[in-house]
Structure formats: C-alpha cells, structure tokens
Chain length 418, copies 2
C-alpha cells in the first residue's frame, strides 16, 4: 500500500517561562490543578526554548519519542494525557500535494513519533519540562489541525507539566487555578504581550551544585502534606499578590514588580523549608547572589533588579533596563569570575550585554572595580557560577515551516542524527 508510506510532520518551537508569583502545591495530582494562581514571564525562545517535531504515519506501529537525540519511554501518564486530549480534538487534515487525507476519526488509530530538543542544558534546571510540554501540545495541535483555542491548549499542556500551560503565550502570563473539579477552567491567559514591557533584561546565573535536588513533583507533594504555612500562603497571601502583580505589570511599575517578585520567591522557598523533611533549593551561592542584589537595591534606594529562584539554586535576575543589566553584570562578574578564563562560554544567550558592561575579555573582568556598596570587597567566588545566560521577555510558541528545522527525517520517520 503506497499510501501507507507517507509521513506527515509539523515542527514548532516553544519558550520556557519563569514564574514571578510562584506555583507550588497541587490540589489534584492527576489533573495537575494548583492551590493558587501564578504569574510568569516568557523568555525569548532564541535563548531558552524547546523545538519539537511531531510526525504521524500509518507505517508507525507505536508512539515513540526522542528527547535531545535519545529515545525515551512514552509510558508516562503525563505524555499520554497530552496525546489523548489532543487526539480527542483532532480534525480532518488534507495535504493535496502529498496526496494525504486524514479523517478526524483516523487520528485515534495513527501513531506518532515525537522528537524534541532544548537549546539550553536540560541539567541546568531551567523549566525545560515547561517548554517541552507546551511545545508538544502546540505542535501536536498543528499536526492534527486542532482548533486554535490557546486557553484550551494551555489546559492540555498543564496536564503534562503544570507550568507548561504558561509557555503557550509570550509576554506576561497568568495561570488561573480554576475552581472546577475536572480542571476545565484551570488554564493560562496572557496578561500583556512581549512588546508591552520590553525594557526588561533577564540574566540567569546557572549555579554549580553538588547536591541532588528534590524533584518539584515530589517536593510540592511533601509541602502540601506537611507544611502548616502553605495553605495560608495559597489562600491568603497569593490572591492579594496576584492582583498587585497584575497592576505592576500593567503599569510597568518596576519597584512594585521587583518587591513582589523577590518576596514571592523567598516565600516559596520558605514553604519548602517548612516542609518535612525540609527542602533546600537555594545554596550558599544563591544566598550570595540575593545578598549582592539586596545590597545594591538598598544602596540605590529603589530596586534595580528583581531576583527569583525556582526549584534549584539558579538565580533569575530581572533588570529594569539594559543599563541596569550592564551594571548588574559587572557586579556578578566581579563576585563570580569565570573559572576557565574563557568568557565566550561563560556568557550565553544575548552576549552583546558584555560590551554594554564594558567587558570584552577575562582581563576586563579582573580589572572590574569593587561595587561601592560592597562591604567586604575582597570576596570572590570563582567556580560557584557555571555560566550566565542573558535573555529578555519573549514571544509564545510558533510553527517552524522551514523543513530544515524538522527533527524527524520525513523519509524514515525517525529522529534525525540518532
């Protein structure tokens, strides 16, 4: 059967996102329904994103998936939930050029191959599952011609990884926790797009860590079960913070934005510490970065930079503008000089921030003056930061139409280069 040989493909790219009001704790484990609303900023997909190709063919005997070039098991309930929900919404597809005609009901029988990769180290702990599941759902939706209701797509991505629902949009995004038991109203909405507040510059410090970290899934389960502070946070503190954060974003009020972002990051880590056994995501390096930012903000009289930490020691630093970001970078490089005397691999993403900071070489780093607000200027911590990434608020998922971006070989139906 000649028609059994066709392979239909779609490729998409989705950004990662960083919460500024944190999601921590589920009220329903299976459906991934949170105990509070959260708000995030989407990062520029040029710097931090997942790219995914999904392919369908009558010649595929089963569903298969490759992540960063390595085949992985698709048995996980979360992948299956996303696949099932998208298949349920699939519609007729016709590709006249290739002579392919798939009826709505045929999708139930067609198996898919999925290949995905992240343009940043997965091990860095930078919400790779958020970008990955958003991309999977978005791209499957394209392949299967699903109606473009982004709210519904976000609700499906949520079932893969909670925070993935926020990666369906660019700019600033709110995940509304919803009230329904079936989770149908637990979905993300865009607050403003990425052009609304484009002064912001985001510098991520990827912090070296010897500790094995608690997974966020088991960590938040333990917090829900044992922390006496979590419910108070979720029911009393967060609702008012969400309103204030929406106002701050709408008004581009950096001072309020920074205060809320830092306070909520710290409170998330506080409820982790209030868990039994306690969860520590931040380490001494994370503490030092907070201290550096707090001292500088205090010295300036008004916040220059906001910090936020997810389920790991990495610092995500949001500077009010490019000038501030350059001053921040000088401070960071002063305290955390590159270990390998190699600036090139120490600054990823938008490397042009280095010239804004007047730093072109390791010699320039070494001659940086101590920041005036620093009490003990001698202290340097070479090796404690693995590298920095410079980024900014970015756009939501998009289709990559150029076939060269496809991660699956249309002739074989398998991941390329495996």
């Amino acid at each position: 059967m000649a028609e059994a040989q066709w392979v239909l493909m779609a490729t998409g790219r989705s950004p990662t996102n960083i919460a500024v009001i944190k999601y921590w704790g589920k009220r329903d484990e299976a459906l991934i329904l949170p105990v509070n609303d959260s708000i995030s900023v989407t990062l520029d997909p040029d710097h931090l994103s997942a790219t995914t190709t999904v392919a369908a063919s009558p010649s595929f005997p089963s569903d298969r998936m490759w992540l960063n070039g390595k085949e992985i098991e698709l048995s996980g309930g979360r992948f299956q939930s996303c696949l099932r929900e998208i298949r349920r919404r699939a519609r007729d597809v016709e590709d006249k050029k290739k002579g392919i005609k798939i009826k709505k009901e045929d999708w139930e029988k067609l198996h898919v191959h999925i290949a995905s990769y992240n343009n940043f180290p997965t091990a860095a702990g930078l919400a790779s599952s958020a970008a990955g599941f958003a991309c999977l759902v978005f791209t499957l939706g394209k392949l299967m011609n699903v109606n473009e209701d982004y709210g519904e797509l976000s609700s499906i991505a949520r079932q893969g990884s909670g925070s993935a629902c926020r990666s369906i949009y660019g700019g600033f995004v709110k995940w509304c926790m919803g009230k329904n038991d079936d989770g149908s109203d637990s979905m993300a909405v865009q607050l403003v797009d990425e052009s609304h507040w484009d002064d912001l510059v985001i510098i991520i410090a990827v912090v070296s860590s010897k500790q094995k970290e608690t997974s966020s899934t088991s960590g938040m389960r333990d917090t829900v079960e044992t922390s006496l502070l979590l419910q108070y946070r979720a029911q009393t503190v967060v609702p008012s913070r969400i309103l204030k954060m929406e106002e701050a974003i709408k008004n581009r009020d950096f001072e309020s934005f920074a205060r809320l972002t830092c306070a909520d990051s710290n409170q998330f880590h506080a409820v982790c510490l209030d868990t039994s056994p306690p969860i520590f995501y931040m380490n001494d390096t994370s503490h030092r970065i907070i201290s550096l930012v707090e001292k500088w903000n205090h010295a300036e009289g008004t916040p220059q930079v906001a910090y936020t930490f997810d389920a790991g020691p990495n610092a995500v630093l949001i500077a009010r503008n490019r000038k501030t970001a350059a001053l921040l970078l000088q401070r960071l490089l002063y305290c955390f000089p590159p270990q390998d005397n190699d600036l090139e691999s120490y600054m990823l993403g938008d490397k042009s921030i280095l010239s804004d900071a007047g730093v072109q070489s390791v010699a320039d780093v070494e001659s940086l003056p101590a920041p005036p607000e620093m009490k003990t200027p001698g202290q340097k911590f070479k090796g404690d930061v693995s590298y920095f990434i410079c980024s900014r608020p970015g756009a939501g998922p998009k289709v990559l139409t150029d076939e060269s971006h496809a991660l699956i070989d249309s002739a074989t139906g398998l991941a390329k280069g495996v």
Copy 2:
C-alpha cells in the same frame, strides 16, 4: 571612713538554653515581650554557662562591667533595666563578720561592679546573652537579698535578653508570652527538672561561617515588620505545638519531641526567609547536617535524633540516648573529619562520648565506615565544622560560694587578671 572600704560580693553561674519551640518576634521591643510562647532545654552548665561576680561598695563611684576580661560600656538600656528592676526589689543585708550593714534604701545609692565570663566561645553564637543576663539577674538578686521568686527573676532577665528568662531554671522550661501590656505576666516556668529526661544527649556542631550574621534583635524586628507568615505561625501554629511539646516532654515521647523540634526549627528559618530582605542563618553545612539526620531517622523508621538551629549555622542535635549519640557522632565525624588532625580540641564538653563512639584518635575517624543509609559515601567536608560540644540537659543557676570562683578581687573591687 573605714566602712567605705568594704566590698560585698556574690558569684553565680547560669546555664545557656536552646529553644525547641522557637521565640522569634517581639510584640513590644522595649519590654521584650514575644509574639508566642517558647520552650527550651537548659544545657549542663559544666559545658555551656556564664559565671558572674557582682560586687557593691561605697567606694565605687559608678557602675562598671567586664565581659570575658574586657571592660564594656554599661550604658545599654537592657543592662540598666535589669539593674533597676533588681535594685527596686533589694532588701536589707547584714554581714556581721565583715561588719557590713546595708539597708534596703541604701541599694539605690550603691554602685556595682560586674564581671562575667562564658565557658564557651562567645563568637560561637550559642545564646551567650541568655546565660549572661540570667546570671546577672540571678547573682544581683543574691547580692541584694531579693526575694527568691524565680518567676519574677525570669521576668527581669527577660528585659535583658528575651531568651535569658528561660535560663533561670534547669530541665525543660516554658516562656509564657503573657497578655499584660506591662509584661508582668511574661515569664518562664519550669516544666520538668533536669532529672526528668536524663537519657538525652546533646551534641552541638559549631559550624564555620564566612558570612556576617544578622543580629537576632534586628532580624526579628524585620520579620515582624515584613513577613506575611509570622503572625500565622505565632497565632495559629505555635499554640498547638506548645501543647503537643509539653505532652511529649511530660511523657518522654522522643518521637513526638523530635518531630516537633525539627519542624519548629525549620519553620523559624522559614519565616526568616519570608522576611524582606530575607535572612539566612543556615548555610550549606547546616543543610548537610539536616540531610544526614533526616536520612538516618528515615532509615531507622523512627527519629533517633532531633535537630534545631538558632540564629546562626550551628546545629544543636538532641539524641534520644547515649547509644544513639555515639552512633550520631560516628556519622558526624565521618562527614566532618577534624581539619587539624587534633581530636582533643575538636570535641569539647563531655569528651567521654568519643570512647562510646569507639573513636580515640584521628586514625579511628579515618577508618570509620560510611553510614549504611548514605547515598554518596565519598563526600566528606573537612573544615566545615569548627568543633563539636557534647552536653546534656542541665540544672539552673546556682551560687558559687567558694571565693576562688569570684571574678572580682575583693581587695580592689576590680575584675581579676585585667
């Protein structure tokens, strides 16, 4: 005037104490009134205590004080509060042998000299002010023949340093926050004396730290002003924990005691983290010690050891009995071997715990096997612990009648050896 030459002295010794339900946050800064009750265990004064000599003489032109051999200013409001409150309660004193007769009203005019020293490093951050103020108040009370109402003495010591009120008793002690605006009902009571639960062994790991720590006075002020979780902790969580902790202590129920102690330590540090700017007292070494204890407790199925941390990185570890303490010490020495190859100065207090642990030399430490519950047995952190102190629950303040203990020279009225 010959009678102007006499010097009347008293010397006392008071223990330090470690809270197992923490005091953090004042509702009245001047009177030192807390936002919640707290419970502590008094440590054996042989290992951790303050010794204070107070002297009065008509020849003293002003009040003076020496701390650890160095004269310090007595202008602080807290010293003055304690002095004033004790003077107010002073009664007639007669020493027929020395021919001294002091009338109640004379105490207002008599100046005092105070000399105090701690038998442990002040810099270690082990509640030296608790022992110090308790000792000052207790010993001044003796000198001035104040009525021995320990509740009232504790209330006076509280005005020197909040936690000092708990050092007025041995064993387990509760500081009742009280309700009155004038603080008259904010005082400590003994729950049980030190003989009630004498199986317990306390090992303190004094952790090396490069960071300058936030003082507890300014730290708790910041928490009261900025943490959204503190009031919930104080009003809702602690009252029920206090009741459970009293039960656990009464019944010598180590499992409940350990769970409550660890949870409350972690929650205290959680509200510190929820403060703006956030306060970090624990560092990576503190986290490693918690992790070591949690893994062992988990492996045993029931808690062997409780941990608690005050306003600093030092771990206070309470083992259910001596056998458990020996097993704990093996684990601690395995992970944190002595840096200077000198076991003698690495184990202070009750050094006999070393032989219980089968460790007599640095060679013995090096040949300790990895604890079976440890996942990554290679990891050792030489230098991260400065030294250990082994202690146990101990008795309250007492008078030292032997003149050789006096820290003031009765001939000169000045601190000895200055």
